[in-house]
Homo-oligomer: 194 residues x 2
DNA sequence: TTCAATTGTTGCCATAGGGCAACTTTTACA
DNA sequence: TGTAAAAGTTGCCCTATGGCAACAATTGAA
């Protein structure tokens, strides 16, 4: 039995991080169900419980929240071959402060929290993958803190240009600004300084 | 056999989070060795590998790094009953960007990375504790990002006053400023606006 | 393909926070 | 416990970024 096309990228993702046989993967990969989203469609809103984990096959997810003054604060973009979830809510089964939205027409593989934790307990490769997700999420956020604390906006922009160019090429500038923690006016001005 | 005084607080910490018998804990608690630090003493420097996890019995640790211009960026203070380590380095066995320093005369329980991961594999309670540490580290850093991205300095100060008052009462103002991401001048001015 | 709606740019001024200097207060340890 | 060094405060001015308004460019749905 051969793998469905839709599960191919996820298999490669896992295979890159830990030894895994395609035949084993195919035993449980149907827990990851395909879901397509239109541009701007939400899969999580503030106040809801995040009970899923999503792997991006195609398209892009944005994680953000609103601050007290109603300003949009963008924390993360998940492009192809990345996982997206509101991890704090997913882990602790608490209400989410964050929204998750598709920015482009998007195809996801989604697994429920319950199914995922069952795989984490019973499938060593998924256990490794979960550890990997947690570690990456953590190290990414720590880098981001140091960035906001000690790096001026123009340098943050240059960093994104170098290491995450898709953020600039695929997303509206308004969202890039929100990700960088500046207004669209300022981003526009920073660009002209490059 | 009764628990040594030095292991009491760690036992309580674990006990609060997961069922555990004192007699079981005493089987492996000697992996956590006591270490005392003088004020300002370092236990980790940038460029070293962080191969330990420290539980603070008494005193306070500061985690920080320098940015390109040499400015001190403080990320976290670990007071009594908190764990401190440079988690990215600890997890990935990479070189640390961070320093860890005692701010007060400090008493720690330290366990090596090797011993700790052995306990994580073999002792269910320690496995739970490790998951807990990762989750808290992650959710703390995410909150901090949203703080820097969308909350003005005066509000950040008020937040610390309410939720982490020890930062203000026990630490020099210079370090508080660095933690808040402002200069000591600005912190001094913010205080007069309260 | 068009055109209303959204997004991006830029001039102008406002504001938050930075940095220096001078001064005061606190601290540490001889 | 005296004193030098460090830390904290404040006046003054500077810089980075914010916010409004007017305009230009782009977009997407009919």
């Amino acid at each position: 039995m051969t793998l469905k096309t839709e599960h191919r990228a996820l298999f490669e993702y896992i295979h890159k991080r830990t030894p895994i046989k395609e035949s084993d993967f195919s035993n449980y990969c149907d827990h990851f169900r395909i879901k397509t989203l239109k541009r701007n469609e939400f899969i999580l809103r503030q106040g809801a419980h995040c009970d899923f984990l999503a792997f991006v096959n195609k398209g892009c997810l944005r994680l953000f929240q609103y601050n007290e003054e109603g300003k949009v604060l963008t924390r993360y973009f998940a492009f192809e071959n990345k996982f997206g979830t509101s991890l704090s809510s997913f882990i602790n089964q608490t209400v989410s402060d964050e929204y998750i939205q598709a920015i482009e027409p998007t195809e996801l593989l989604m697994i429920t929290r319950k199914d995922f934790y069952e795989l984490v307990e019973n499938v060593p490769e998924i256990n490794v993958i979960y550890r990997d997700i947690l570690e990456m999420a953590y190290t990414t956020t720590v880098k981001r803190i140091y960035n906001f604390q000690g790096v001026p906006a123009l340098e943050r922009l240059k960093w994104v240009m170098e290491y995450q160019p898709m953020i600039l090429t695929r997303l509206p500038s308004k969202m890039v600004a929100s990700f960088l923690g500046v207004t669209p006016y300022t981003l526009s001005r920073l660009k002209s300084e490059l």
